[in-house]
Amino acid sequence: MTKYIIKRLLGMIPTILIIITLSFFIVRIAPGGPFDGERVLTEAVRRNIEARYHFDEPLVKQYARYMFDVLRGDLGPSYKYKDHDVNYLIGNSLPNSIVLGSMAMAVALVFGISLGITAAVKQNTILDYFPMCLAALGLSVPLFVVAPLLQQIFSMQLHWFPTTGWFMTTGGGGWKTAVLPTIALSFAYYADIARLTRSSMLETLRSDYIRTAKAKGMKNSTIIFKHAMKGAMLPVVSYLGPAFAGILTGSIVVEQVFTIPGLGKFFVQSSFNRDYTLIVGVVIVYSIILVIMNFIVDIVYAQLDPRITYK
């Protein structure tokens, strides 16, 4: 097992390097530079700026320099936010995004799994239909509709929750600020997880080894939680990798609607501004999170399924 983990960890390194390289070059070959939008620069000023950001060097050298900096943990200066470097900007906003994302994921998992199992066990009853209708809704209503609607209903009309703000910022309001963004972000993933849990639970309950367990005289609850649970959770676990990726992008919308100072806002703005270092920095950070999440998912999967061999 340890060997397997180490091997998978080492396997992550080339992936991350390739991701850095790819995003660096995609951004660099793009037409238009970060300073295009501003007033026309004199030749001297332009040279000066280019020298400061090493634009005057050949691309390969820029790449090597950037790679070296990144490996030291320095993502470089931001071109647009001149007072701060990328590390500072990301470091300030990333925790907000991560907290939001993890809360949404946790909510989606708790509700998705529990309601999915109930639906499977109580098939064709109200306990099946209601959560599944909700899930069908969650699949079809885009996040950018859910978020404003929740805001409209629960903050503007009912005044239950504040419209904007974020509890982690100073003076950002209490825990209530976290409720609506979390629900909005988790909705679609609740839908997927509940449907997945239900169908895989149903399938597991039909399997031969569950019949064996019944023939042994096991109680229904024991059968579900001890015998069926592990097998039924496998598809859910492998879904979690892509789900994390989705939540990362989804949080862009939620952050925008609820004005949460997260990474998503920087990402969209920096791509409009062609703020190269910031874009690449955000992509690298997102990718690393994603790669780590996929790694964790793999390990959990291997833990759950004894048939996986650690080669």
Binding site: P31, G32, V141, Q152, L248, S287
Partner: protein
């Protein structure tokens, strides 16, 4: 020849039980029909598709026609734009009156209005003061101020007189009195026509035209290479003009000429129609040919501008929301389809190559796919859109480029499992080539799974496109998509909730239907794979 006669494969056994032979598709269709939600979904999807395809044939206002006076009108089935405009103006007047203390409101309501103003619940305030105002006016306890009355009168006049004219065809007559259509005429004819209309020398017009073409070329050159300046720019433009040649110039100039003449004709038609309107010799809506005073004949459609009805309201530029939603649906659905097809083609290509060739090719292709999977792919799309320009083509490309991964994996898996099956061995033993085997044996066999998967993907594409449009990275004005409509509406949702609700409902219904239809299809074709997403 009984070639096209359907063979009925029904046999009866010893027990008088009928035994019917069915094909996979027939069986699947039977299963699909039994799934009520899937059938409903299918019908809804078909309706949407028909609306999108025949949008041009529907009696809709142009989706990009902005009428300034019609900004932010609320949806109404019964009332025309003019009435709504007037109501809005009255609401404003009453509100001003209330604020100035001219409109009496009960104490209780006064407090309520004050509270609402604090909370910026504008609609509630307007509705209430409007109610009071109308009552007060009926009782005779309130009269408009002079300036307010002037505003209302002017608006009433506008509502009566503003005419919207579209020129569909424009005909002119040449020296022999022969009629020709302006849009199809050649350069020289148009040049003569235009100069006659303006009453100037043709050479003068030609000089202007040449300058215009040159300016547009120069703009183009500068857009391509921003570093060019001064003499370099001049030289590049000169070069470009040479490349264009006389023919190219005439082509461009003709376009401009047609535009000018049409504009001229429209203005003239407007004037003439208004004149007839005030004489009362024309009825609206008018459709037909119309003699212009300059001697040309125009096929026009004329209607009173403020008699329009906006069943779903208008947006912040005064464009018809119904029309925008339908045309937006056209774009959204098209993106869903094109994205799916593109990812389908790339996926099948890569997947079947990797699966069939195996070995090193397979290894590297699949490692590449793995790494692509590791990328936050929506972010890549965002980068592509932001950097390579926000147009529909780039959107297609960006979505297609990142979405073939799953299909490639699926096809590879399918092919790997099919590869060892006997019929492929058989084909090989009879000397069929690799390409032939892939094309004729393997792809058809894995196709149903892939097609079903693609159906399930269409809503995801539509959602992704809308997501980008919502962020302002998708389709750009004047085009619309459901996402951009929703994105535009979010900022003003308290004031104009209908702008958010209408496109949201339309989109959600479609996605709902599509999801149910896709699920039904998958269950019908592959009843075993219920736990795949």
């Amino acid at each position: 020849m009984k070639l096209f006669k359907k063979k009925k494969m029904v046999a009866t056994n010893e027990f008088n039980q009928t035994v019917e032979g069915t094909s996979l598709t027939k069986e699947a269709w039977k299963r699909l029909r039994k799934n009520k939600m899937a059938v409903v979904g299918m019908v809804v999807v078909i309706i949407y598709a028909l609306l999108a395809i025949f949008a041009d044939a529907l009696p809709l206002y142009p989706y990009d026609e902005a009428i300034t006076q019609h900004q932010n009108l609320r949806p109404s089935l019964t009332r025309s734009a003019g009435e709504l405009m007037l109501e809005q103006r009255l609401k404003n007047i009453y509100f001003q009156a209330w604020r100035n203390g001219e409109l009496a409101v009960s104490e209780e309501d006064d407090a309520r209005i004050r509270e609402w103003v604090q909370e910026s619940r504008t609609n509630a305030v307007w509705d209430l003061v409007y109610k009071y105002g109308e009552e007060a006016r009926a009782n005779g306890t309130f009269e408009f101020s002079r300036s307010a009355q002037r505003q209302i009168d002017r608006m009433l006049e506008d509502i009566e007189n503003d005419i919207q004219i579209t020129v569909n065809h424009l005909y002119a007559y040449d020296a022999d009195g022969e009629r020709y259509e302006v849009a199809n005429a050649d350069y020289q004819t148009l040049l003569n026509l235009y100069s006659t209309l303006l009453n100037v020398e043709p050479s003068l017009v030609e000089t202007t035209l040449r300058n215009e073409v040159r300016t547009s070329v120069s703009n183009q050159v500068r857009a391509n290479d921003e570093t060019l300046e001064g003499e370099d720019l001049e030289a590049a433009v000169e070069l470009e003009m040479d490349a264009l040649g006389e023919e190219g110039y005439q082509e461009r100039a003709t376009q401009n000429l047609v535009g000018y003449i049409m504009q001229l004709a429209r203005r003239e038609a407007e004037r003439d129609v208004s004149a007839q309107n005030s004489e009362g010799t024309i009825t609206f809506p008018y459709k037909g040919s119309f003699e212009l005073s300059s001697g040309m004949t125009a096929e026009i459609e004329a209607s009173k501008m403020h008699e329009r009805r906006y069943y779903l309201g208008t947006d912040y530029l005064g464009r018809d929301l119904l029309s925008r939603i339908i045309y937006g649906g056209q774009i959204s659905i098209a993106i869903g389809l094109v994205g799916t097809i593109a990812s389908f083609v790339i996926g099948i290509l890569v997947g079947s190559l990797a699966g069939y060739l195996g070995g090193r090719v397979d290894y590297y292709l699949m490692r590449f796919v793995d790494i692509m999977y590791g990328l936050p792919y929506m972010l890549l799309v965002i980068i592509c859109m932001a950097i390579f320009g926000r147009n529909i083509l780039n959107l297609f490309l960006a979505l297609a480029l990142v979405s073939w991964l799953t299909i490639a994996r699926m096809v590879r898996g399918q092919i790997m499992s099919l590869k060892n099956q006997e019929y492929v061995e058989a084909a090989r033993s009879m000397g069929a080539s690799t390409f032939h085997i892939i094309l004729r044996h393997m792809i058809p066999n894995s196709l149903s799974v892939i097609i079903v998967y693609s159906t399930i993907r269409i809503p995801a594409f539509i959602m992704q496109e809308s997501f980008l449009s919502f962020l302002g990275l998708g389709v750009q004005a004047p085009y619309a998509s459901w996402g951009s409509l929703i994105g535009d509406a979010v900022s003003s949702m308290t004031l104009y909730p209908y702008k958010l609700i209408a496109p949201s409902v339309v989109m959600v219904v479609f996605l709902f239907a599509m999801n149910f239809f896709g699920d039904g299809l998958r269950d019908a074709f592959d009843p075993q794979s219920k736990n795949q997403l």
